[in-house]
Symmetry: C2
Subunit: 465 residues, 2 copies
């Protein structure tokens, strides 16, 4: 049945991907049957929609630059998705679903051509019911908040690409971000309430996943089903204030951040610490900073400002920026979260071509200090404090002043040797990014939802037909 | 000046308190100058208003039963409070402020007679501003929520006496309760935003305490100022569902509770575990319970019910009760929190005269198991899970099947020898209940606000004139 395609299955190496090309006749047949479902084969459009922000990684940049699909299809509804899935099964075309393409790991890059399914048209946002909202995968995160906030609710967490990212792309590839200091990551039980998923089969089905079962499509890059609706739990909304605090010493800032994270009486949504020279690249935020400063970036509940300010004073920090989220929005200023998480890296990449980054977990602040000593200026520390298993933990996206792939791998190895696991952002394979092993539930669901192995092929190492 | 009073100062012993009596002439002069400020000297009224729920403790019951004030004064305003404070200073009368008298440690019991200042008339509740509310000390906790919830906010934490307790009494004597699994206790930085406090001096002043400074009147039993207004931070409100889950094994329930506490993706407000026979005393809740069952009591955010139910199933619990907070209120059923915290003890005291309780902190669940083995049926385990310093911790109010004071002290000593600190609920001295040492800020503020030592005299061990 799918023999010819399966024989062309990627061999999970960095090379010979280019041997997998879609047959022109299959593509032509697909297009002929697509009917009125919006699509585009213009090379520029297809190339643009075959990319994401993988270029943060010099390694992915080299490996993925030439990967493009053959056609961009933009479904308007679940019915369109079902129709496209049926045609892909019929003509044995790979299908790679994408949101806004704001991910960094090639999630949205079709390794083997075929259909790029642009979910940007499915933007429905339902009413808030029992603190949850059902949304189309193409709904932008900021638009969800805009619609739910008048009802008193907001998204629990979002990536720094909040203003452009879609909920489908975030769930399919993301892990957490702003808000994870309260609710941990997307993988946490309760962070996704349900998902509707279209299978890729001769007769595609819609599968409703409820509760923890819905997590099997989370961080699966669209390899095991096409998400057509998500039910997301919300948090009761509250006004947030964006704050930056400067410290002379980075480790003192880090201790302050940990204390704020552990201060159960203080509402917070974001706790970020960066060492010099990172804040030198922070637009207007750098104006009032002394050379060499470490900078903490925070979103604090407005009701907790008095307590927070007292902590700043107790730790000897210097408050250099404070603005309510509402004022930031009204003024058009850059929201503070666009200096955090992977936007930190972006701020540097705008001016420095030689930087890249890692994603790491530090067991404690002593490990941060050890890595600081180990690498000096070669690695600029960038910490993100989140919650995991009920505790505040230290995550990091350190900036690496890049020389060679070999040295980058050495830096990773040194981290791991010191009990600082690295979630490698320089791979497009799901497993290699963080989990190291294939998620059994993800794989099992792929056998159900994608028996032909056509969904975003080449991204899940554990898949064999 | 105050020599005669100071010479009569209590000697911090359980005995000779009865020697401290208010002179009839001073009282008469006070009453003559009180004007139209409402007051009552009827012995029954004064006796009733000189009590709180200290009788949970057989030791306090014996020690405090005969302690009464001389007059109950019910101020209508801060101006009334200032006038009463001035008269107490002038006539050297002790003043003991009280809320609803729902505390358990004799906080509201005047050890040396004098004025009982009943704050129940000062019930003002302001609008929600920036997630906080200014309230009179006599405002009932339930009334605050009733007024703030339409604006989308609710109290962060409350004791199990929520339906009758006042905010002033809670702040002056309480430590935490329902909600502490999110926000820790009242002592936590950020849990109180401000307080207005009237001093007891010849010319009483109003002192505005802001931020952490306001904490010096928290858990001070009204010994260092008369609270006339509080600014309390709120939490964004959300619908809660009340749930009871039965387990065959208490330690398995305890592990489940800890896991729920650490589940960052699940909204919770209450996590309580009690072992058999405690649930036998739980009214309608006991109906569906098998003999010997351990019972978990929870308030879970409605948006998290799916995830919670999945955890119950994973741990092998048996869901025996589930009702939305709104349905409970509408039906007039007993809210689930009235089976938790110190209401657990009350449920038993309604039918068993020989029980009392402790308050303890367990370093981990192994310690719970050790105490369970140590005491068997003599101590029935009752755990309350809260947050402290950013982590989920195990607090306890174990039921003690009381024999003698000596044995009770032995039980306390055994706990402490095994690293389970006991916050002794069988003392009316602030320090002996939990802190062990006098809070320096509390004492320093008492020197400012109560130089004559007339505020609730006899409760702060560290006070010397």
């Amino acid at each position: 049945m799918a023999e010819e395609l399966l024989s062309a299955r990627p061999k999970w190496s960095w090379v010979n991907l280019a041997t997998d090309v879609v047959s022109p006749s299959a593509l032509a047949a697909f297009l002929a049957e697509l009917g009125d479902i919006p699509h585009d084969t213009a090379p520029n459009t297809v190339a643009a929609k075959s990319r994401d922000f993988f270029w943060y990684s010099p390694i992915l940049k080299e490996r993925l630059a030439d990967r493009v699909g053959d056609v961009v299809v933009t479904p308007r509804s679940e019915a369109d998705v079902l129709a496209v899935a049926r045609l892909c099964a019929k003509h044995r075309l790979p299908l790679t679903a994408r949101g806004a393409g704001t991910g960094n790991y090639g999630q949205a890059v079709p390794l083997h051509g075929g259909v790029v399914l642009d979910m940007i048209g499915m933007t429905e946002i339902g009413p808030v019911v029992d603190g949850a909202v059902r949304v189309g995968p193409g709904a932008k995160l900021k638009d969800i908040d805009k619609q739910t906030r008048p009802a008193g609710w907001e998204l629990r967490m979002f990536p720094s690409t909040y203003r452009t990212a879609t909920i489908g792309g975030f769930v399919a590839g993301g892990s957490g971000g702003v808000g994870s200091i309260n609710y941990s990551g997307l993988a946490e039980r309760g962070s996704i309430l349900g998902a509707r998923v279209v299978t890729l089969e001769a007769e595609p089905r819609v599968i409703e996943l409820r509760g923890y079962a819905a997590h099997c499509v989370q961080h699966a890059y669209g390899t095991n089903g096409i998400i057509t609706e998500l039910e997301m739990p919300l948090a009761p909304a509250q006004p947030w204030t964006e704050i930056a605090v400067a410290f002379g010493d980075f480790m003192e800032l880090a201790r302050f951040c940990l204390a704020v994270g552990r201060a159960d009486g203080i509402f917070k949504k974001l706790i970020t610490a960066v060492e010099w020279p990172i804040p030198r690249y922070f637009g207007t935020l750098k104006a009032s900073l002394a050379e060499g400063s470490a900078l903490g970036l925070f979103m604090i509940g407005t009701a907790s400002l008095v307590a927070f300010d007292e902590m700043v004073a107790a730790f000897g920090g210097d408050l250099v920026y404070k603005a309510s989220e509402a004022d930031v929005a009204a003024s058009g200023a850059v929201p503070i979260y666009e200096y955090t998480w992977n936007h930190t890296t972006l701020q540097l990449l705008k001016r420095e071509k030689s930087v890249t980054y890692l994603q790491a977990a530090f067991p404690d602040l002593a490990a941060v200090e050890a890595m600081q000593r180990e690498f000096g200026a070669e690695v600029s520390q960038h910490l993100e404090f989140t919650r995991a298993n009920g505790e505040v933990v230290v995550r990091a996206l350190p900036i690496v002043w890049y020389t060679t792939a070999e040295r980058l791998n050495e830096i990773i190895a040194i981290h791991e040797a010191r009990d600082c696991p690295v979630f490698n952002p320089h791979t497009y394979l799901i497993e290699d990014g963080g989990m190291k092993v294939t998620d059994a539930a993800q794989l099992a669901f792929k056998r159900v939802a994608d028996p032909l192995g056509l969904l975003n092929p080449g991204k899940m190492r554990g898949w064999t037909p």
